[in-house]
């Protein structure tokens, strides 16, 4: 008592040399409808660093109701996002890439902590994530030229097929690749106009919330991407069986749960996709095509 080190005025002035500054720790919440709510269940769970096992933070533990709310938010945003011009979606996605690149250091730190990568590998991983996002940013105004076109039918009709977004897509993000894998499963879904409900990696969820902060500040409309952190085993079945979810990407589901999830999805004839990609390798269009419907239109040709 009375030591200058602990008096209020000294504390305000800052630590003396040799004392560590106390940080202001971030609270990680869910990202739903463009906002950051806590779980309605009030639960959270500890997230540990990959190497040391130290506590990194508490992540919100999303409940079934949170998942339901996320689907509502995704559906509410779906019409407008699908109705935006492809050019506009491309611009928005490119801006996200700008924002991620701007925060490269922060993301590298998160990935190091989450995955135990070395600093150099983490930086390369973040750079790859940015480039991955840029790759997808260039697709919206090109997909129709690759996946659509006029069809030459045997009659006086103009017939053309256009790819259209399927709607709300549930995405189980990869368990291990907490940023590059995450980006690789989200970007293709929204580039074409779908909205997403993402279940982040259960053990490595923090980069997903930081990514959400980027999305919230990059002109991405609220509800286009919704991110839930929590227990995959609890959340995946809700989404797989949800009748207002149009498609589901099972990539991040533990292998022994996939069969049951596919059965659940079958109940509403969902489009199901699942693939364990090498995230470092060049992507292909299939993750976009998987969530596109094809609409074919006929019109007579005559005077």
């Amino acid at each position: 008592m009375g030591s200058p080190r602990t008096s209020m005025s000294d504390q305000k002035a800052g630590p003396e040399p040799g004392t560590a500054r106390i940080g202001v720790r971030k609270t990680y919440k869910l990202y739903v409808g463009g906002a950051f709510p806590r779980s309605e269940s009030g639960r959270s769970y500890p997230v540990k660093a990959a190497r040391s096992g130290d506590l990194l933070a508490f992540a919100a533990q999303a409940s079934v109701k949170d998942a339901r709310d996320a689907v509502v938010a995704a559906r509410a945003a779906a019409g407008k996002w699908a109705g935006a011009t492809a050019y506009n979606r491309g611009q928005v996605l490119y801006r996200v890439a700008e924002m991620i690149d701007g925060r490269a250091g922060q993301f590298a730190d998160e990935v190091i902590a989450a995955e135990g990568l070395s600093s150099a590998v983490a930086r390369r991983t973040v750079a790859a994530a940015v480039d991955r996002w840029v790759w997808y940013a260039g697709w919206p105004d090109k997909v129709a030229q690759v996946a659509g076109g006029a069809n030459q039918v045997a009659g006086p009709y103009f017939n053309f097929s256009v790819p259209e977004p399927t709607g709300v897509v549930a995405v189980l993000a990869p368990a291990e690749s907490s940023l590059l894998g995450l980006v690789s499963v989200i970007a293709p879904v929204i580039a074409t106009g779908n909205t997403a409900v993402v279940v982040a990696s259960e053990d490595r969820p923090l980069p997903a919330i930081t990514l959400s902060e980027v999305l919230a500040t990059s002109d991405v409309p609220g509800g286009v991407v919704n991110v839930l952190t929590g227990r995959t085993a609890e959340l995946a079945p809700v989404l797989a069986g949800h009748f207002d979810v149009n498609a589901i990407d099972l990539t991040g589901a533990p292998a022994d749960t996939r069969t049951e999830l596919e059965r659940l999805a079958a109940g509403s004839v969902k489009r199901v996709f699942c693939a364990q990609d090498d995230w470092a390798a060049a992507p292909a269009p299939r993750r976009m095509l998987a969530f596109l419907e094809t609409k074919t239109v006929w019109h007579p040709v005559g005077i």
């Binding site: 050019y87 480039d131 690759v146 019109h299 007579p300």
Partner: protein, 509 residues
């Protein structure tokens, strides 16, 4: 208005005031306000304009060998804007060598994803400096600031955005796996959309992995030079883009240079044919985007007010200096008088004047020679017996100006129905049946574009199928998008710019 209000107005007019001090102004409103838009000039000082510009070669601005320069003037005032370098044969050699070097050692080997990021940067800087580009283009070209601001510059940026996205996706462009670039592209562009044409040429070429030597038009070099500065600001490796200013000889030297693998030209059919001849047998790949004499076809069931807007836009946008201009109105005879009447009334509200005034619709003609050509052809129209009409229009004393002009009673055989005027002159012809419309529309050596106005979907498709034109606009006109392929049939050229198709010109496919 009731008697009470009319009395109040009368009282106000008599200066007595009605109610709580109603001003005398109110009284004039019985007949409607004579509302004149005040001048709304765009400030020109936003864009710094140098007194003199060099050539842009190997990433640097340098004078032409021998130091020759020429002036570029403001066609709205005839005042000189700046001196610009005149590139000679030695400069063409330098530029091609720089482009070759960059292609072999830097740009060619560079992964598409990295090339993409340079192009995205250029697109972004164009967006950020958009107001400077809009003002500079308006001053150098004569077109209204409203058009440069709302059309030219945004489309140019969009073009870079669009092709940036192809640079790392060439495997999926429909040309087979890993299509290769051609090498060095020699590109010559016209004066009607200087910045936009530069974007149309550079963006796909660079995305596909080529390097470029670009020659802007003699009368409109400045936005290309500002674009060169943007390339520097984007960190584009030296030699990837080279800009050589000059006149016809410079362009001829560029396309003829043995170090150029690919030639792209937009301009007159006459020059396009000359280029085609010049490179015959050299193995150089060529795309041409030439002139047009488009038919804008209006049927009796057209959405009439929008059709009139489409006619106006089709021929008076950019002062008619548009290769795809709807310079022939083909209107169904049963509604011809009605349509022409509405067109004449609509033309009353066109505003011609200072291009930097934000309310100007019609700007200056780009050069004296062009003005003379338009004047000659319009005179020919009168001489051949067509009826000439323009809305009342005060032309500024200085500068190159031509009032919007409509010729009715035009026949297919009149010069003004056959020759490209490239000015704000519309020739009106009639037709009776859809087949006749098609026949007349196609009765031209050109084939760049066409317009169709009707509410009937099947007829739109039927006409579109039969019109021999590379671009068909239905119930709209003069719409451009980087995703939409553009180019002509027959003497309007070959090759397409824009869309996936636009890559073909710059790949070895």
């Amino acid at each position: 208005m009731t008697d009470k209000a009319a009395r109040a107005e009368g009282a106000a007019a008599a200066g007595q005031g009605a109610g709580a001090g109603a001003p005398a102004r109110v009284a004039t409103l019985t007949s409607g306000l004579d509302w004149q838009y005040a001048p709304a000039p765009q400030a020109r000082d936003i864009v710094p304009i140098a007194a003199e510009y060099g050539l842009f070669v190997a990433g640097e601005f340098t004078p032409a060998t021998g130091g020759r320069t020429f002036a570029t003037i403001n066609p709205a005032t005839e005042e000189p804007i700046a001196q610009v370098a005149q590139a000679g044969a030695a400069d063409v050699d330098r530029a091609v060598a720089a482009a070759r070097d960059a292609y072999e050692h830097v740009w060619g080997p560079m992964p598409g994803a990295e090339r993409a990021k340079y192009l995205y940067r250029i697109a972004r800087i164009l967006q950020e400096r958009s107001r400077e580009f809009a003002v500079l283009e308006s001053i150098d070209n004569g077109k209204p600031i409203r058009e440069t601001r709302d059309v030219d510059v945004p489309l140019a940026a969009a073009h870079f955005f669009y092709y940036a996205g192809w640079a790392d996706k060439l495997d999926y462009a429909g040309f087979g796996p890993a299509p290769r670039a051609l090498g060095v592209a020699g590109q010559v562009i016209p004066w009607n959309f200087p910045l936009l044409m530069a974007a149309w040429k550079l963006a796909p070429a660079l995305a596909a992995g080529n390097t470029c030597v670009l020659k802007p038009a003699e009368t409109t070099p400045l936005t290309a030079l500002l674009l060169a500065q943007v390339c520097q600001q984007a960190g584009l490796p030296p030699g990837v883009v080279n800009i050589l200013t000059g006149a016809g000889e410079t362009g001829a030297a560029v396309v003829a240079h043995p170090g150029v693998n690919k030639v792209a030209f937009t301009g007159s059919t006459e020059v396009g044919i000359a280029i085609n001849r010049a490179i015959a047998g050299t193995g150089k790949k060529l795309t041409l985007e030439l002139g047009g004499k488009a038919a804008n076809v209006v049927f009796d069931d057209a959405p009439i007010d929008q059709a009139v807007e489409g006619i106006v836009n089709g021929i008076f946008f950019n002062q008619g200096h548009v290769c795809c201009a709807g310079s022939r109105l083909l209107v169904q005879e049963s509604v011809a008088d009605h349509v022409v009447d509405r067109l004449r009334r609509r033309l009353q509200t066109l505003r011609l004047g200072d291009p930097l005034d934000k309310n100007t619709d019609i700007g200056a003609i780009n050069s004296r020679p062009q003005l003379e050509k338009i004047t000659r052809l319009a005179a020919a129209g009168e001489a051949e017996g067509a009826h000439r009409w323009s809305p009342p229009c005060e032309l500024p004393k200085r500068g190159f100006w031509f009032a919007p002009t409509v010729f009715t009673g035009v026949s297919q055989s009149h010069r003004i129905a056959q020759e490209e005027i490239f000015g704000p002159v519309l020739s009106v012809l009639t037709f009776r049946t859809p087949q006749e419309a098609v026949t007349k529309a196609n009765n031209t050596p050109y084939g760049l574009s066409a317009g169709i106005w009707t509410e009937k979907g099947s007829r739109i498709l039927w006409m579109a199928q039969r019109m021999r034109a590379g671009v068909v606009w239905a119930n709209t006109y003069n719409l451009f998008d980087p995703a939409s392929p553009f180019g002509g049939y027959r003497e309007s050229g070959f090759g397409r710019e824009g869309g996936r198709h636009g890559l073909a010109a710059y790949l070895d496919v």
